[in-house]
Amino acid sequence: MKKILNKTDAYVDEMLEGFVAAHPEYYRLHGDSGKVIARAEAGKQGKVGIVTGGGSGHLPVFTGYVGTGLLDACAIGDVFASPSAEQMADAIRAADSGAGVLRLYGNYGGDVMNFDMAGELVEFEDITCSTVLLADDVASAPPEEHEKRRGVAGMVYAFKIAGAAAEEGRDLDGVTAAAQKAADACRSIGAALSPCTVPQAGKPTFEIAEDEMEMGMGIHGEPGVWRGKLRQADEIAGEMMDRLLDDMPLTKGDRVSVMVNSLGATPPEELYILYRIVKARLEGLGASIVMPLVGRYATSMEMAGVSFTLCKLDEELETLLQAPCDCAFWRVG
């Protein structure tokens, strides 16, 4: 897959330059690392701050979700690489308005170590931090070891729900609890058809034959649970739903939001074909679908493939999910 870029080393800086230039009403660069994005207008004083961070190449994840009712700031790494602890500390500073800051991010080694270090740095500045890790990818560890799972598209639900809780004026414990509840309520699985190319590596993250797909693949090309012949849409959707529902059974009367997400190149047309099956499966169980999200919410640049995320809702989560939010990529209410 070909890319439009200048020097590979400048990819992220130039991307962010264009990003804030295109959406000045939503985003601004904070600090001088050039890699921390904060809301154009800071959240209310005394509001709990929410930060995230992670590698570039997943837009709208991570930094796209900085916005009202969502995140306050984001530290941005190179493509698929964790930002540094110093950048994360800067993001925490940008998000803080005295009520503490929730670190809400995906469970990846580099991010965990660096957010831990960042927390140690800002402790000296009397900023209290809490942590919620997203670990929603069912393909990445069995249920007994669910805390080892990778974080993928489920983070969008966690951003939304935690963001609404913070906007509502809850304290750090309250926002953290809501975020943890959202994180616990999400299950995701992905299927990849083609790789993407990290600009600096210059070649695809993996190789896969023209007639093959991989089930359960990670958003950085981490291996999945099987690789085999490309199947028909209905079969793919069926297996993905099986794997999610095995992990988190749903039954009559349950309320659930579902995301059918393109990993990048896969067009919305194909997502709609898949959504037919997702909807039929959930309704077949007697569950009600709340606010289905079909589109590009968490990507890997030009990777072809999809992910499904289920977010099982109770009344609190449903209210928070449907509360207003606004960023350049997503608006509710």
Binding site: G77, D78, F80, A81, S82, P83, S84, A85, E86, Q87, M88, Y108, G109, G110, D111, M113, N114, D116, M117, S140, A141, K148, R150, V198, Q200, A201, T205, F206, G218, H220, G221, E222, P223
Partner: protein, 199 residues
Amino acid sequence: MTLTRDTLLAAIDRIAQAMERDFEMLNAADGALGDGDLGVTMTRGMRAITEMKDDLPADIGMALFQCAQAFTKSSGSSYGTLLATGLMSAAKALRGQENIASSDLAGLIAGARDKMQDRGKAELGGKTVLDSLDFLAKALPGADDKAAAAAQAVDNALEEFRDRPATVGRARIFAEKSVGLDDPGMLAMQSVVKAAVQS
């Protein structure tokens, strides 16, 4: 034999070259079960150090501290963060000195290993870079030829762990598949150590 700023500068050059040479190998090793970026991490880190190396002070502790800073700024990958954590540990111990006695090496490496273990919350014996450092720390004290012993230690560590399952990082998700495969972080440490001790 003692190590000084000059020894450090020369080692930096050799390690930087080795990383350019091993770029594809490390990406591929990491890509087998992980995200395939270890070559990127190492070349970026060493380029960042190379760029500022002429400004390194004679104080070897300060010099290592600045190297660690440069490396972390270049990326936040697991490996980069762990390496920088290890360098910081050595940097703290060496602050104010202009050279390192070769007899201190084992202790510095053991100290780095422990701090990296705190940071990454992984066990020893988990088939990671920690085990390479552990082998180094244990091989050096009794050895006359420290360079040869170090090179042998990183080889031995790989040998010893090759057929064990990964327990840490992205690769532990595929513990069975990892049996028979070298841990990419241990491979990187092998390249780093061999480049460092060569002369």
